[in-house]
Symmetry: D2
Subunit: 389 residues, 4 copies
C-alpha cells in the first residue's frame, strides 16, 4: 500500500490526479443492505464544491457528477466493493504549464518530486485538494451506514482569518449550512467575508479552524493502545491537506489545567447507574454489537453521564458516550497572487505570482472533508468494535 487506503474493515482507497481522467474511490467492507443512491453521494459532493460566489472559493466550477460503478444493486449495498468515479472536467491544464518546472512555496511540489522523482504538475496532480472528492464520496456512504445507528456528525468553521466565532447568542448552527463560509453566526459570517475580500484584494490567503461534534456514539467505541479513537481521528484529520494541528476536548488548554479541574465527574442520572441487563442475544457487553434496528446506540448504553466534557468524549481512547468533540487547524492556502521568490528545477531563481483560480481559504470546503473522514473512522471503528468485545 502506498498510503492511499484508510481503515481496517470499512476501508476506502482513493485514486486520481487533479487533471487526469477522474478521481474517485473504492470502498470495501461496507456491509450489505445499506440503502444507497447516487443522490446521497451528490449531496455530500455539493457541500464540498467551491461556491463560485463565496469570498473563500475558487471560481473553478466543478460539476462533480459521481457514478457508482459497482457494489450497489436495486438501491442497496451488496457487501461488495463500491467504486465511485467522478470524471474531471473544466480542466484548464494549460493554465499550469508554467508550473511544470517551478516549485510553489508552501505546496508539495518539491517534496513530491523528492520522493517520487516525478510528478503530474497539473493542478498539483494527486497532491491537489481534488483528491478529497473520493473521500467525500466514501464519507457519504459511511454516513448512510452510521445513520442506521443514530450517529450524526456536524462540522463548522469556528475560526477564519484570525476571527473566532463566539459561542454567544448569535451562534446558530443551522446558519452554518446556509452560508458558503460554514460560519454558524450571521454577524461573524459577514465580518469574516469582509476580511477575506480584503485578503483577496491584497493577493493573500487565510487559514482557520474547523470544529466538529459527533453525537450518538455510545460508550465503548475505540481500540485502546495504538488505535485509540482519538488517535485514529488524529491521523484522519492530519491526512487532510493543509491541516497542521488537532485537539480533542480541552486540547492544548488541558496542559495548563490541574487534575481536579479537568477530570470530568460522573453524574448520577436518576439512580440507574447499574449496567443494564445484557441484550438477549449473544452479546458480551458491547452496545455496538447488536443494536436493535432503528435505535440509537446510546439508548443501549450504560446510562452514565458526565458533568463536563473536557475529555472530548473519549477516555483511554474509548468513547464515553458524550459527544466527540475536536478542532482542526488549517494553514492559509499557499497559492497566493502576491509575488513570491522561488526556484525552478534547474536551480534558478524565479519570481512567482500564482494567478490561477484558487481558494483563498480552504476552511469552508474542508468542513465536508472533516466530516467525511470522521464518518469513515467511525464506521470502521464500529465494525471493528463489533468483533472485539
Amino acid at each position: 500500500m502506498g498510503g492511499n487506503t484508510f481503515g481496517k474493515i470499512f476501508t476506502v482507497t482513493t485514486f486520481g490526479e487533479s487533471h487526469g481522467a477522474g478521481v474517485g474511490c473504492v470502498l470495501d467492507g461496507c456491509p450489505a443492505g445499506v440503502p444507497l443512491t447516487i443522490e446521497t453521494i451528490e449531496r455530500e459532493l455539493s457541500r464540498r464544491k467551491p461556491s463560485g460566489t463565496s469570498a473563500a472559493s475558487t471560481t473553478r466550477r466543478e460539476a462533480d457528477i459521481p457514478e457508482i460503478l459497482s457494489g450497489v444493486f436495486e438501491g442497496q449495498t451488496l457487501g461488495t466493493p463500491i467504486a465511485i468515479l467522478v470524471r474531471n472536467q473544466d480542466q484548464h491544464s494549460t493554465d499550469y504549464d508554467t508550473l511544470r518546472d517551478v516549485y510553489r512555496p508552501g505546496h508539495a511540489d518539491w517534496t513530491w518530486e523528492a520522493k517520487f522523482g516525478r510528478r503530474d504538475h497539473r493542478g498539483g496532480g494527486r497532491s491537489s485538494g481534488r483528491e478529497t472528492v473520493g473521500r467525500v464520496a466514501a464519507g457519504a456512504v459511511a454516513k448512510a451506514y452510521l445513520a442506521k445507528f443514530g450517529v450524526s456528525i456536524q462540522g463548522w468553521a469556528s475560526s477564519i482569518a484570525g476571527i473566532e466565532v463566539p459561542q454567544d447568542d448569535g451562534f446558530d448552527m443551522d446558519f452554518a449550512e446556509k452560508n458558503p463560509l460554514r460560519v454558524p453566526h450571521r454577524e461573524y459570517a459577514e465580518k469574516i467575508r469582509q476580511k477575506l475580500e480584503a485578503l483577496r484584494a491584497e493577493g493573500d490567503s487565510a487559514g482557520g479552524i474547523v470544529a466538529c461534534s459527533i453525537s450518538g456514539v455510545a460508550a465503548g467505541l475505540g481500540e485502546p493502545v495504538f488505535d485509540k479513537l482519538d488517535a485514529v481521528l488524529a491521523q484522519a484529520m492530519l491526512s487532510i491537506g493543509a491541516a497542521k494541528a488537532v485537539e480533542f476536548g480541552s486540547g492544548f488548554a488541558s496542559a495548563d489545567s490541574v487534575g481536579s479541574a479537568l477530570n470530568d465527574q460522573f453524574e448520577h442520572p436518576s439512580g440507574v447507574l447499574k449496567r443494564p441487563a445484557p441484550p438477549p442475544v449473544g452479546n458480551s457487553g458491547s452496545p455496538f454489537r447488536t443494536p436493535p434496528a432503528g435505535k440509537s446506540l446510546n439508548t443501549l448504553c450504560v446510562p452514565v453521564k458526565y458533568a463536563t466534557n473536557n475529555a472530548g468524549g473519549m477516555l483511554g481512547g474509548i468513547s464515553t458516550g458524550m459527544p466527540i468533540e475536536f478542532r482542526v487547524a488549517f494553514k492559509p492556502v499557499p497559492s497566493i497572487s502576491k509575488r513570491q521568490t522561488t526556484i525552478d528545477r534547474k536551480g534558478d531563481i524565479r519570481e512567482l505570482s500564482i494567478e490561477g483560480r484558487h481558494d483563498i481559504c480552504i476552511v469552508p470546503r474542508a468542513v465536508s472533508v472533516v466530516e467525511a473522514m470522521s464518518a469513515l473512522v467511525l464506521a470502521d471503528m464500529m465494525l471493528f468494535n463489533s468483533v472485539n468485545c
Copy 2:
C-alpha cells in the same frame, strides 16, 4: 488485530497488564544486521522510569529489567521477530482492591468496561502507562536502526503546569537530560519543581507539553494522502495515554496567519539547486533508498533549504529535509488525592481519594514515549519509503 500493533513494515505489538506477569513487545520487520544489545534497551527504559526523587513522579520503583527473548544473535538482529519481556515487580496489587468496583474519574476504568465487559482493575490493567514499557523498548530498537542513517530524535518538556519554558539564553537542551523533569532550562526547571510540589501538597496534579525535534531526515519521506508523515505521527502521539492534542510546525497559530507570512520560502544554497546525479546503483530518485553507510541521509538530498520552518519539516505529508517539529499536549494525571465523587458498579455514589503512589505530572516520563513513538514511525516510514519510490 485489537489495535495493539503499530506500523506497517517495522511493526511493534505490545502486550501486558500493569500487574500481570509482565509487559513487553514483539517487533517484526526490523532488518537483519542492526547491532543490538540489552544495554541499548535498558538505557531507554531507564529514561522512562519514574525518578523516585522527582517532583513529578510516583515513588513506585520499577526495576524494569528487559530480556530479549528472540531475534538477536551474536549482537545483531536476525531479521526475525524481536520479543522483549519486562517482568512486573513491586506489584502492590492489593493496593488496588478498593478500585475493583469503582470507576476513577478521568481514567479509562468505565470506558474499558463499557467496551470489554470486564477489566483487570489492578493499577489500570492494560490502560496503565506501564504499557509504554513495550513501546520504549521497541523504540530503542528503532533508534538503533535510525542511527545508521544519522537520524536523531530529541524530546523535552516545553511546558509544565502552565509554566512555559522560554527559548531565551537560559535554554539549554543538554540540561533537559540532566534533570528528572526534562526541562531544558535550569531556572525554569526549579520554578516548575516548586509548582509541582505545591500541587502535590494540595493533592492535585499537572499537565504539560512535550516538544520534539527530529533531525537528519532527508526530504522525501512519507506517504502522501492518508499516511502523511504528520498524520501517522499524529496517530502515534495521540495513542499515548493522556495526550489530548498535537500540532506540527506553526500548528494552531497557522490558522490565524496569512499565506504570504506562513509559506516557507526556498533558499538558494550556493547555486546548487539542481538534483544531484543519481546514486550509482538502481535508485530512481529517493535518497532513502540506498544511503551510503555511515552518511546522513541529508547529504544525499537535493540541497534545497527553506528560510523558515513553519511547516514543521513536512509539506503534503512528505518531509522537506528541515527538522521535523511538533508539540504534544498532555492532560493532568487524573489520579489525585483530592477528594472526588464518583460511582461504583452498583451505581452507588462513592467518595474517592486516590492515595496510591502515582505521578502528579506525566510529562517528564512521556518524553521518552514521544521519542519512542517517533522512532517507530520513522523506522517504519523509511522502510516503507524505500520501496515506494
Copy 3:
C-alpha cells in the same frame, strides 16, 4: 476490508459485478517510473478473453476495453494509485432473469446469499469469473514492473478433461500461446479439442490443470513463517474461482518419497560458491535490494545451483534461485446444459438446464489469471523483500 484487496505493498483492489457498470482495479504501491501504456494492459486482457471459436469458450464477446483513470503520466507510473476501468458490454442481463430465484448447483449463488443476505444474480454478480478482468489488468502492471528485473512468468494448460499433456518431443511451449486452449502440444491440443466438443454435445463440462513456471527470480525472496512464498502463492491460486488444489515442485508425490530421493542436492558451479563481495552501497546481503538497472536479479545471486528442483524453487518459503514451479487444479465449469435438479428461494424443487453462453472448460482462460496472480505475488514480495533484509 472485505477481502477484495490482495498484497501488502503492491496491493490490488478489484471491484465490479458481472452485469454492473464495469469491472476494474485500483493498484496502490506500484513504484514510480514503470513504463506503462494502455496497450500493455490490452494485451493481457486479450489473452484472458474468451475465444469465440475455441472449443472451451463461451461465445459471449467481451470487448474489454480498459481505461487508465489515474496513476500514469506521460507514459510512466507516478507512484500513485493506478485505477483501471473496463466497462461491461454485451450484457444480456435478461438472460439471467430465470436465475433470480434459483440456486445453481456448483455455483456460489446460495453461499453468497447465505453470507450477504442478497446478491446480484445477473451472471453470478461479483462471483462471476468476470471479476478476474481486474486481476489480469493489475497483473499486466505487475508484469511490467517485474520485466525490469528479468522475471518472466509462463503458464499453460497441462491437463484438460483428464487428458494430460506429455512432456515428450511434441511438447512445444511456443505452441501454447498459438492455440486458444493454451495446450503446448499440437497433437494433444487436437485430442483435447475433440474431447471438449464431445462434452459440449453432451451438455457437460470439463476441468483441468494449469501449470506455471517462473524464471528469473533470484534466491532470497519470500518471508519465512506465515508469508512463505509458496504460502502466498497458494492463497493467490486458490483465490481464483474453481481452483481446488495447488502443488509446488514434486507436490503430492513428495509425500510418498524419501528424504534421500527428494532432497535437491547442491551443485558446485565452477568453484565459485563463495558469496560474492557485497555490493558497494548499503546492502546487507539481499540481491533483491539494489539490482543494477537492466540486470537480472539472478546475476547478483550467490551462484549456487541445485541438481534437481523437487522443491519447486523454494525452501523454507524462500526462493532458491531455481525456477518456481507449481500446478493448479480447476474443477469443471459448474454451468452445464445437462438437466439438474435444484431448489429455489422458496424451497421448491426446480429443474434446471443452464443454456446461457458459458465456457465448458475454464482452464485455457485461467492461464492468464494464474500468471496475473503470480505476477502480483512476486511484485509485492520483491518490494517487501527489499526492506526486510
Copy 4:
C-alpha cells in the same frame, strides 16, 4: 511486518528461534470473556510434542511448559493481547556447531542466508519446526473460542511413507489420538510403524499426508474474491514447514471429472428450504453474527443440504455448511543420516551425515499444527464475517 503475523482480526504473531531463550506468540483480537487456562494450552502443546517412543519422532524431549504473560484475568480473556512464552530447554546447541558453516540439503539454511545475510544456525534457528510451538499455543486459544460455537477440528495422518490409510472397516478416528503416529487405523498404524523403522535403519526419512475435517461451520463463512475461505486455508497450510501441496474436497481429482459428476446437488430436507425468519435483533442475514449462546452456528443456518461434498464444504470461497475437508502433503524430513554431499560457506564440497536427534516423519506432529492453523483461520474469519454481512 516480516511475515510473522497471521490473521486480520484474530491475529497471531509468533516469535523465537529453536535455541534462543524461548518461543511463543502474541494473540491480538481475541474477544473478551473466553474461558482460558494454562491447561488448555498445555494439552495442545502435548499433542505436538515428539513422542520419544514413536517410530517417527526425535528423541529430543521438550518440556514445553507454557506461561501466559498477559491477556487473561481470573480465568477469562480480557480482550487484550495474550502473550504466551515457552522457554527452550534441552538445547544441545553444541550439537549444531558443525552446521554453522554448512548448508543442509532440503533445509532453508542457504535460502535463509541468501535473504537475511545471516542466520542462527543452531537447530535451524527460526526455520525450525519449533516455531510451531507458538502456533499450537495460539491455536489452543482459537479452539477455545470456536468451541463456543460448536466448531470442531479433527486432523489425522491419512498417508505416511507411501502407505495410504484405507477408509475401510478398520478406520477408527478415535484410534488416531491413541497412537503416536495419528493413524486412524490399528492395522495400518502397525504397517506404517514397521516401514518407518525400516527407513530409520537405512538413515532415510518419510513424508505423508495430513487430512483434516472441520464440522460445525455454518454456511456463509469466508470472504469472496481474494480471501476465500479455501484460499486463506491454503496459505495457512503451505505456511507450515515441509508442506508442499493442499487440496480441498475432490481436489486434483476434480480436474479429471465433468460438471455433471462433480456438482454437489442440493438436497431437500423435509420441505424447509425457506430462509428462516430473521433473528430478532439487528441481523441482516448472517448466521455468524449473533448465535444464541451455547448453540451451534449450524442451527441458525438455512437448512440446505448437499447430496455430496466434492466441494469440500466451500463454494465461491464461502462455506456451504457441509464439513470443510482438505488434505496437506508433507515432504520427507530433509535431515537424514544417510551421507549427502553439500557445500559450505567457503564453497567447498563437504560430506554430510546428519546424526542429530530428528524426526524421520513430521506428519504425526504436523497434525496438531494443521489443526491449530485451521482454528486460527476459522476464528479470524468468523470474527471478520460478523462485521461484513
